[in-house]
Symmetry: C2
Subunit: 436 residues, 2 copies
């Protein structure tokens, strides 16, 4: 894939700064969360008390700490996913930008990378990642539904993006991809605790190492993805590798990537759209006696948690979000706090929700029905998820960024992200915002 | 498993220093190999020119360089496996000691760990690792034969060993095990290039991070190994998790662990024993016109490479080792050098070898038959691999250690490893050998 920025379709060119902005906002919004503190203490190479990594090449965004490229990529990627607010390739529930952007942003702090080159590498990484996810999960594949594909394909896309910026030749690019695939790991049982949120971050780190190894001349079989006993063979033996290259360069999976308005598992979003629609029509003080939500089967496979104990479980509990959105009539970070999870009224409603799995529905379709105490019934049908507009994304970014930056710095950063293709040195120009 | 050293059977107590000695020898023998140079350049946290990591807590053995615990564990584990001279749990082709010993040895440089505690942690790690490998691969499991289980179970055993030395309670131990399992990766298509040799090393690194994360309070579902969509479910859905705990504390898999006399893939060893037996009976100057080797099917699955291009492929080429051992009448590091691989006589003999896969054979059984140009036939049958005696292990260690240490230091280190259970501070006492 010898794409240049100019050769990308205009819609892709326009989407890349949106993906980058959404990533940067998620990093800033998540970087001071307690799980990131715990991870930083385990991963930073310098022992506590040995300074803030002054001699090291890249910056842990929002944390006033520097580290080597791989650790930086890991921690920035973890910040991006820790609140489950990162983007999602809907067909495969891949979260594509985190591993790719985190890896190449760390690299861009060590050498001049133009905005166009950065955006092109980002496009390549996301495209490879989502296309491999397609190959692993979509027909004819009969993959184990327990695969958390961001952990499997994220490092591969990110390694390819790194390889692009490092100027690897085809052979070394194949090594980089293979070395990333050799470390691929991701399964759904990691969800419901901090562990699941860390999976994309391992991919970011592993991609950096894979690309640096390949650049150094560290060898790997060149067909690791499709070889017998290789990546696809292990994780999805019935998959057709050709699915990954179908209409390559013509159809862009980046354009099938969605940004989240709610910090909830993406498969819950159609139900949330429907419930917020109902909530807006609910008379003040009305009591939802019974609620039925009908969702695509994957939604229940991934989020069938009726009594979440903490924010990590609540994030991926269909029942929690349905109950909280109906009673609070909104679905933001506040609805992920422990007081909302423990709210007796919300907890009680969670037990009265009837969730139905309907294979006839699309993945981004949901129906919510509610019977009030007086017998009134309300119904909302969301046939297609609502994409986030530029204004929605800007609003989301500001709310996240101002958790760690002042409003002026957040605005400066917003403009830099929006203007990504015009930057002459992505790492320097952007890192200057938090060096100021 | 609340084992103490005293409670371990005497045979296990006696085996632990042998496993440790063999690991240390392999680290020293491999640490200056070119792939380790390439890996060090990619993984060391400090950029080139930033010194030898003087402030960092652990030592890259034989390389006069220090790093954080995880990177140290990774590079020491890679040194141990880079020449494929590390130990092997024969039933599952797991290489158990590398990830475990590398992780806990790095930790032991940062705090006093007695030899008995170190040996007990090593026993726990190896036991968990090999037992999980049994569960993944042996009946009733119908696992993909492409799994390279050291990459899957190595990090889990090593994380448990780390957790033991960190004093983790049961809940945190389960987190550590889960966080290691969440990063498990290993498949056979990585073989035949440097990539395959690095797989155990990733496990050592990941185990360090998993244990440090858990110790910090970073959460993970507590039943990640056996949960739906969890570790066993993903890699070997038909496996019986109970197989991992069968006769736990009574039968020790460490006693089914073998040390290699040859730097070749372990499944080739029975054929090598048989060929060296034939070679010893071969008249001087005799030409093996035709050679037939009969091996367990797994041997051919893993080593069916008739024309290896380089040492990495030759290591796991049945044909190369059969040809080289018959013509050179030995099978050591010299037979892995490029000149031996390219030797026209050896290359020609490789093409005349008939390799037969026979499911009636045991895994450590092989038959070699040879017809000479004059029609004479010779036959050797190795029914069971020959275990290495203490003297064999000492000889192997000295040959490896003296690649980087002088003979006196190698002897000092040999005695320290042999006396492991008597040491009061493993890290300090052993690291003193290369600090001298």
């Amino acid at each position: 894939m010898h794409a240049t920025f100019d050769a990308l379709p205009q819609a892709v060119q326009a989407e890349l700064p949106r993906a980058f902005l959404n990533w940067m906002g998620c990093v800033l919004g998540g970087c001071r969360e307690p799980p990131v503190d715990l991870a930083a203490a385990a991963f930073l190479p310098l022992p506590p008390g040995k300074g803030r990594g002054e001699g090291l090449p890249a910056s842990i965004i929002g944390r006033h700490q520097r580290a080597d490229l791989a650790t930086t990529a890991l921690l920035n990627s973890f910040s991006a996913s820790v609140l489950s607010f990162d983007d999602t390739h809907l067909a495969t529930v891949t979260h594509p930008t985190g591993p790719v952007a985190s890896a190449i942003f760390a690299l861009s702090e060590t050498r001049p990378v133009s905005g166009q080159d950065f955006a092109t590498a980002l496009a390549i990484g996301i495209e490879i990642e989502c296309r491999l996810s397609n190959a692993l999960l979509l027909p004819p594949a009969q993959a184990n539904t327990g695969l958390y594909v961001t952990g499997l394909t994220g490092p591969i896309g990110a390694a390819a993006a790194m390889g692009r910026l490092l100027g690897l030749d085809e052979r070394k690019m194949n090594w980089a991809i293979g070395l990333a695939a050799a470390q691929a790991a991701g399964f759904r049982a990691t969800h419901g605790a901090m562990s699941g949120l860390l999976v994309p971050a391992f991919g970011a780190r592993n991609a950096v190492h894979a690309a640096l190894l390949a650049a150094n001349g560290f060898t790997c079989p060149e067909t690791l993805l499709e070889a017998p006993n290789g990546f696809i063979d292990i994780f999805s033996p019935a998959a057709d590798p050709a699915r990954a290259t179908d209409a390559l360069g013509h159809r862009f999976e980046l354009l099938a990537n969605a940004y989240k308005p709610y910090p909830a598992g993406i498969v819950i979003h159609p139900a949330l759209d429907a419930c917020l629609d109902l909530a807006a029509r609910l008379p003040p003080g009305a009591d939802p006696a019974a609620v039925t939500v009908t969702v695509h089967p994957l939604t229940l496979t991934l989020t069938d948690r009726r009594a979440p104990a903490d924010p990590l479980e609540a994030q991926i509990s269909l029942y929690h979000w349905v109950a909280a959105s109906l009673l609070r009539r909104t679905a933001g970070i506040d609805e992920l706090q422990q007081d909302c999870i423990d709210d007796p009224q919300i907890a009680a409603l969670r037990t009265r929700i009837n969730a139905i799995s309907d294979p006839a529905l699309n993945r981004d379709e949901a129906i919510a029905e509610m019977t009030l105490a007086d017998g009134t019934t309300l119904r909302a049908h969301v046939p297609v998820a609502r994409p986030m507009t530029d204004a929605d994304l800007d609003r989301k970014f500001r709310a996240q960024a101002t958790r760690v930056l002042d409003a002026a710095a957040a605005d400066t950063l917003l403009r830099l992200c929006r203007d990504l293709p015009t930057l002459h040195d992505v790492g320097q120009q952007i890192a200057a915002v938090w060096k100021e």
